[in-house]
Symmetry: C2
Subunit: 702 residues, 2 copies
Amino acid sequence: MSAHDDLRYRNLTALFRPCSIAIVGASDDVVRISGRPLRYLKEGGYNGTILPVNPNRETVQGLKAYPSIAALPEVPEVAILAVPAKLIPSSVRECADRGVKAVIVFSSGFAEMDAAGGEVQAQIRDIARAAGMRLLGPNCIGLFNAATGFYGTFASALDLGFPVDGGVAIASQSGAYGTHIAYLAQERGMGISYFVSTGNEADVEIGEVLLWLARDPGVRVIMAYAEGLRDTATFIEALRTAHERRVPVVMMKVGRSVRGANAVSSHTAALAGQDAVYDAVFRQYGVHRALTTDEQLDVAYACARGLYPNGRKLGIVTVSGGVGIQVCDAAERCGLDVATMPESAQEKLKALLPYAAVANPVDVTAQALVDMNVLTSALQLMLDQCDYDVLMGVFLTVPASKSFALPLRDAIAKAAAAHPGKLIVMCMVTQDKSVVRLYEAMGLLAFEDAYRAAAAIAALADLQASFERGVSRRPEVRAAVPLPQGGMSEHEAKRLLAQAGVPMLAEHLVGSSTEAVSAAESVGYPVAMKIASADIPHKTEVGGVALNLGDAASVRAAFDTLLQRAATAVPNARIDGVLVAPMAPGGVDTIVGVSRDATFGPTVMFGLGGIFVEVLKDVTFRVAPFGIEEARRMVGEIAGRAMFDGVRGAAACDVEALANVLARVSAFAAEHADDLESLDINPLRVTSRGVVALDALIVAAK
Amino acid sequence: MSAHDDLRYRNLTALFRPCSIAIVGASDDVVRISGRPLRYLKEGGYNGTILPVNPNRETVQGLKAYPSIAALPEVPEVAILAVPAKLIPSSVRECADRGVKAVIVFSSGFAEMDAAGGEVQAQIRDIARAAGMRLLGPNCIGLFNAATGFYGTFASALDLGFPVDGGVAIASQSGAYGTHIAYLAQERGMGISYFVSTGNEADVEIGEVLLWLARDPGVRVIMAYAEGLRDTATFIEALRTAHERRVPVVMMKVGRSVRGANAVSSHTAALAGQDAVYDAVFRQYGVHRALTTDEQLDVAYACARGLYPNGRKLGIVTVSGGVGIQVCDAAERCGLDVATMPESAQEKLKALLPYAAVANPVDVTAQALVDMNVLTSALQLMLDQCDYDVLMGVFLTVPASKSFALPLRDAIAKAAAAHPGKLIVMCMVTQDKSVVRLYEAMGLLAFEDAYRAAAAIAALADLQASFERGVSRRPEVRAAVPLPQGGMSEHEAKRLLAQAGVPMLAEHLVGSSTEAVSAAESVGYPVAMKIASADIPHKTEVGGVALNLGDAASVRAAFDTLLQRAATAVPNARIDGVLVAPMAPGGVDTIVGVSRDATFGPTVMFGLGGIFVEVLKDVTFRVAPFGIEEARRMVGEIAGRAMFDGVRGAAACDVEALANVLARVSAFAAEHADDLESLDINPLRVTSRGVVALDALIVAAK
């Protein structure tokens, strides 16, 4: 890290934890945007220095005010600029001159408005960057740090009460959405330690914010919202850091739909990467991508508890058989394993509760509520004698009844006492939120809807599995010999890929029918022959391929025919000759491609070939480079993966060799990040022993 | 309808709307199961006669009590039997003898417990049926009718307050789940007119309940829960009736997962039909199948408003660009059309709100909240000048602020005044439910989560489309000639299907190589030949097929070869001869099958053939018989349906001919409901003009 970068990072830390803060344009009106931050700082217990700047007043909200930034008695670490857009450039300049470490710009009217606004935004960014001063915004609602009481924001959600520091951090490009989930999280009893809205991201981007949050020891879960990214390297470093520290990132990335993506580009200056590539990145770095606000809240809420199940075995206890079936359906739909209780435990439970269904779901029936000791014993049995990773209690509206709310809680607490590390999830409905808080206080997770609970449990299990395996090691990217300029023949493409470790058939480029025959004899009959020319990329279409040639005469004839057809179809094509290769072994055809994503760079696509890719678009992506573990997961994500198991009596395919080639292609793509436009191996045939590329096309970047 | 059936139906009506009611075992303890119904009847304002029966007391809860059913001064229309299971048979007998029209049995300990309990249940059913008396339960929590104040239930949800009659009916096999959704519906401000829990269904089944509810003019939406069905004919009649009356049925059918289905069979005596067949029935009759409780509540809540959009065009207005993008994603994921505003409307909006994004989603920005008249004008523009079927306002926590809650409502009300039939959906979060009720009072739907709102809107649009097209006419089922006993050859199967209207290739059964040659000459070369034997169903596996025979010599040779191979592979096979047919035209291979579902009878499966069905299980089902409209929908449901559009330069397929054959096969299946075990047409080749069955297998029921 350069000295300047180092300064910028230290100043980012000051932005999160300032010892002193100036509010430029501070107002007495505690409802106005320019008045709220001061009120929040005072009421929220900020114990640093607060310096209002207002040339028209002696005091603001009871604090001495100063006429200008220059007039301040000390240099504030952070300045909030609550002034109109037209005053922002001069204010930023004054702060930079004074040595302020970071400024927060609320005002809108910059890049989100028009090109002129974009130019002003670039100006203030340049002023800040030259000074190493950080700039949050413009067009943002600021940030807060609940632990220090630093409320550098006008988010009205704080009117509901100040958050308790609970290890949940929120980072959002959209101020409105960030405030919205902060409100919902608070309603749900979650403690928000940090809230950051990045707005137009003239300087501070969401990736850097995520990185800073991921490094903070107090952060246990991060909720993030983004519309697009610029600095992908820092974003990925943030995801990697969070993952290594086992801090889950529960992220909403919008602009999935075509129309949504269009709205993104009209809404912010962010570049919306192809959505499937975001999916790829999130998979690679174990990010939980939330598609709905409910899901984002549910998963973050579950993560905040800090208990991650080591597996997916779920024990279910209910007071209704019918509900048990429904929850069982829901759990299986979420990929959880509603495993049968051991026989011995079932017998004991039956002795305890003769009417109960005891296999799992366990229906203790309403009888269990008559004597809570029996319920405790039943739960103990499930916790002690079954190896469930998670226990889910579905008690519907039972806790809504005053006569049951606390006794039920105590019955569960007694049973759970001996299993402090076990994740227990309650599904319950009550209008009295304080009852829910009492259940949570003993370490349970509480959900209203059993399906949402099951989905959150599955997300926890996925995150734990991802934490356990670690982020797949990215292979070393070597310096690469540049790709040849201009068009490239199949033969050349295959030679490059063979060097990169992609298996090819023994293939000979020949210039005469005599050479063709001796090549055929060296690889063994029957052979395939193809015209070799960079100017004829789609050989089949011009009749440039001959298959299953069994003897010298056929080879000789084919040589002439192929050249003739090529000359007829593409008269000016430069012909390198004819390729002679053995006939390919049988297997399953796949397709491997590389393209350049505008946001993330070279990206590898994998899918089944032929009809599968054409009709079903059954493909998956990863950003290059990646290792073989990641490649194995790609293979496992394809809907048609059963093809590899051997359909209609075919032998099972060598998916390990396939994964190996995918990783090697990803390394090749990364090595040629700058000069590779696209690459296609179609088909890459997967046989029962190994794989072989039957065709390859490489286009170099212009 | 027989006189007895007619009596039973009239007595079912008495169960829903009794003029007098006895409570056998009535208790003074208003918390006990035997005490609650009386309390609810008194407090709920029931104005019929209430007759407590209790031999040990002079009065119960202030009403004169009688020692027995026989001692009652009048015959009650309904009797609630709140006595232990062992007293139920004698009580049922007494009621039947006295001429009671219907009894409600709360007690458990019958078929759900053990075989002995099942026998007692059969006894009480028989007593009731012989008398034409209806019996609800046992093992149920009863029913209520909010309009008449008849609370024949001990559901503790009533402790929260009595429902307002709002046209929502709940019918549930599970008392616990029924109570749960009733509670949630009430919390959501929905008015429940009827609640019925059917329990073990000794007599009254859920299908009959649904039929009664569907016929009631006051019912506007039905929420249903089932684990399995017995009387499918009545169930289907109920769905058809509801559909004709445009009463949506929002149904949860549990037991989807294998384990869930197992839990069903251990939980009730119901037969769980194959889940995909339930899906088929729900599709055929326009039922909204809810997979989660949230979904069931959301859709029923939306239906209760009674406004069904005629299309899927959605206008979105927000106060945050970021949230607009997210809602746009959500809406498109739900299949809604976030159509761009007309240019002229965009210009007017831009004039009104210079900072706004105006294409759709419309981001009016926080500016619009400063002057509510501007917001009203913006909304008017969207309502007047764009042809959106639904308008969605995403206002996040704005209504949670006291200064905005009512002004925002009024601004929307003003804009909406000129569009009384337009569905307007608010997405808003506030802790104050009374604010939500105020918005609803002006006819809006209110949701917290925009995704859930979008999903509910899509459900409304689907229901409306289904109501508009009506339930697909079921073709007449003719009397059929019984299928031949024992095995059936391919030739015989094809003959039967050809009679049923399934196109076949001109195919000749020949007994000698000379006959084979003349057959080949009559259909034209090249031909295909196949061994014909009911004992060799899988001909390819024994080498019993020869293709592309181009001349008389090849046909002659093939005849001998096929017979030889058959004799070697299946020495004792009865050989009918050899089939000679023209080579099939090219096209897309599909598979059509019929099987017998234990619950719904003959069921037609359709899918793409080959890899698609084997690897992807890409198939869909319908219960036979069905018409061509339904068949068209089947074709449209297949994931690989793009195959029919013509892949890789192939011509588009004749899907109309395909749909026609599916409908014809369904009629054949229905005609042979009693003697058809299974049927397979594999492949049914779909060409650019027509379809042709290339192989067929029929197995008659034993």
